[in-house]
Amino acid sequence: MRINLKNAVAMGLLATVIGVTGCSKESPSTNNTQDGAAQNTSAPAAEKEKVKVDFWSIWDPSQGNGKLMADAVKKFNDANPDIEVVMSGQGGYDGVAEKLEAALVAKNTPVIAQIEESFLGRYNPIAADLSKYMSKSTIDNYIEGLTRSSFADGVFKAAPMNRSTPILYMNADLVKAAGLDPAGPKTWTELQEYAKKLTDPTKGIYGFSGYWDSDAWYWESAVYSYGGDMVNKDGSQVAFDNEKGSSIVKLFQDMIKDKTMLNAYSAQENQSDLIKQNFLDGKVAMDFDSIGSMGQLVNNTKFNVSVVYQPQEGGKNSMVTGGANAIIIDKATEEQKKAAGKFLDFLSQDENVVNFFEQTGYLPTTKSALETPELKKWLEEKPQFKVAIDQLQFAHSRPWSKNWKAIYTSNVEFMKSALIDTTKDPMQVVHDAAVAAQKIIDENK
């Protein structure tokens, strides 16, 4: 028994030594690089220290879009020797959201967070008033349609970053061959007529295709275009349990049944790629998709691609935008918030906006960028992008509800089920989705 105790203590000591040596070896550098942000207030300024601004991005800074952002961060840091923005990728929209939740509990938040547009409903209480830290000219310069989801109680809290919007792509050659008006369908009813005329079973051509993606974004957009809404003004009541919510579901079901729409849910889980591939092959004449796919659809086809506004039915156009905005966390020090504001101002300079748009295909975010000779020339050569930008005048704000993420995840399952089994009553599907969504709202008040 005595030996046992001795050994247990020895093992315990060993474990502690491992832990403690680890701790002492690494912590000083950690405090300098990462915790410095949180502890800035207590650090006496013996010599002028750099203001550290932690920036949590949805992208990995070493690849693709993230690399572009990282380049911009480097440029900013070089130009501002007293500030150091530290960008880190947090695993996409959901990753940033999950980490923010944990960081809030641990009181260890970043200064800037790049969050999905609709998440402001949730993070609004911790987001700073950007008008205090960014210049007025920058805020006024944002294209208006992109800032509809940026305000909470009239306060500007989210700066547009990478943004997109749904749009209708058309195979202009097929439209011309069918003798249809190249201006495209204005309403969903017209879209159905177009699709009928464009469909050619002998050549395996479908007139139209579309899908609900991971967050039912396209369905949401279509509901607005029918004059409907997702939730009421304060986000406490679901507002789509009606014909405006179900019309697009019925339309898609009808078009699948009369074989004028390619049903992406009949095959596999990769709807977006499946539809795009068929569009590229000339087997789908019209594709309801994100502007994010523009580069791929316009550059990889052997035919002419035209782009028209998302159809509507309620008498006026209305669609969602998507993507992410930047918020500044209010808990950061005044110094950090000012530095963060300066960084967001920097990202909105024409040069950066134009570069980011040309490299990624995400919408340009500012009005002045549209006036630059570079962008004007680009839009002249690729007028399809101009249609997407013009469409922003009809942008609708994202639904304002604290738990919208949980709701849209639930919604998409119901909407998918209606396209997998097209005999389901669309009113019933939307009603069931609404009940589930209302439950989420009620349980999380």
Binding site: A15, D60, S62, G92, G292
Partner: protein
């Protein structure tokens, strides 16, 4: 067994193998396709001309060496740490009588069924208070304890007859000698199996490194491979992504094949 039964059995086994191996072959085949081939529907099973260049492109794109080294450091440290912590613990549970032993073992068992999501906020807060966020320590220290390893090895140690231990004590062996020279050689398949499971799960772990770290300097391989899924719908380069996945799993696959015999022994024969 009749000839027909034999043929049937082989056919059945082959079908089962196909079911499990197919996703792997699919990944391999996609990793060698061109982008357009990778999104084609209906898909072709094999690429027209294998694009080995996908691998070299991906190697550069995901900074493979840097992240793989981090993965090796983290995985290796956790495995060593678990050996140091879990073997003595398992030995105590299996062979020693002490107060509240049953209670402690029950706590270990309860921890076994708790999902990571339940413990994620407390661990995050703890690690944050220690100032370990964004260091290797955050990814190593909380995981050198493993309830699975303790439970699994306790069961193995229990099978070793007490008489052997008594004999060793008669020869004046210390407790450490008993563990290292007696218990471990006998329970080798179990210990190796537990370590291999740890290796696989920590090598593939995405959730904890994401939560506990911020910067690229300490992050591990699954994080950079996940980063290849673009946030713009439909622009993911599936062929390169699959090449990344192949590069991610190859080390672990090699390890598994090498240690396959021990795992089978541990589950089929037990302690001989």
């Amino acid at each position: 067994m009749s000839y027909a039964a034999k043929v049937l059995r082989v056919l059945l086994l082959l079908t089962l193998v196909l079911v499990f191996v197919f996703p792997f072959i699919w990944m391999l085949s996609t990793s060698l396709k061109t982008y357009l081939e990778s999104i084609k529907f209906p898909p072709d099973f094999l690429p027209k001309a294998p694009q080995f260049v996908n691998y070299s492109k991906t190697y550069v794109r995901i900074h493979f060496f840097h992240y793989a080294m981090n993965s090796v450091i983290v995985t290796f440290s956790i495995v060593i740490g678990q050996l140091l912590v879990c073997i003595p613990a398992a030995y105590a549970f299996a062979k020693k009588k002490f107060r509240f032993a049953g209670l402690f073992f029950a706590i270990v068992l309860i921890d076994l069924v708790l999902p990571a999501q339940v413990t994620f906020v407390p661990i995050y807060v703890l690690v944050s208070d220690f100032g370990w966020l964004d260091t290797y320590w955050a990814m190593i220290i909380p995981f050198i304890y493993s309830s699975f390893a303790i439970f699994f090895m306790t069961q193995a140690f229990k099978q070793i007859p007490d008489e052997l231990l008594d004999a060793a004590r008669m020869d004046k062996a210390t407790e450490l000698q008993i563990i290292v020279q007696l218990m471990l050689p006998i329970a080798k398949p179990f210990v190796l199996t537990a370590m291999l499971f740890t290796c696989i799960s920590k090598w593939n772990d995405y959730f904890w490194p994401l939560i506990l770290t911020n910067s690229e300097s300490v992050r591990t391989l699954p994080m950079t491979v996940k980063g290849m899924i673009s946030d713009t719908p439909g622009l993911t380069q599936w062929n390169e992504l699959m090449a990344g996945n192949m590069m991610l799993i190859i080390p672990i696959l090699v390890l598994y094949i090498a240690a396959n015999r021990f795992i089978k022994n541990a589950f089929v024969y037990g302690i001989k």
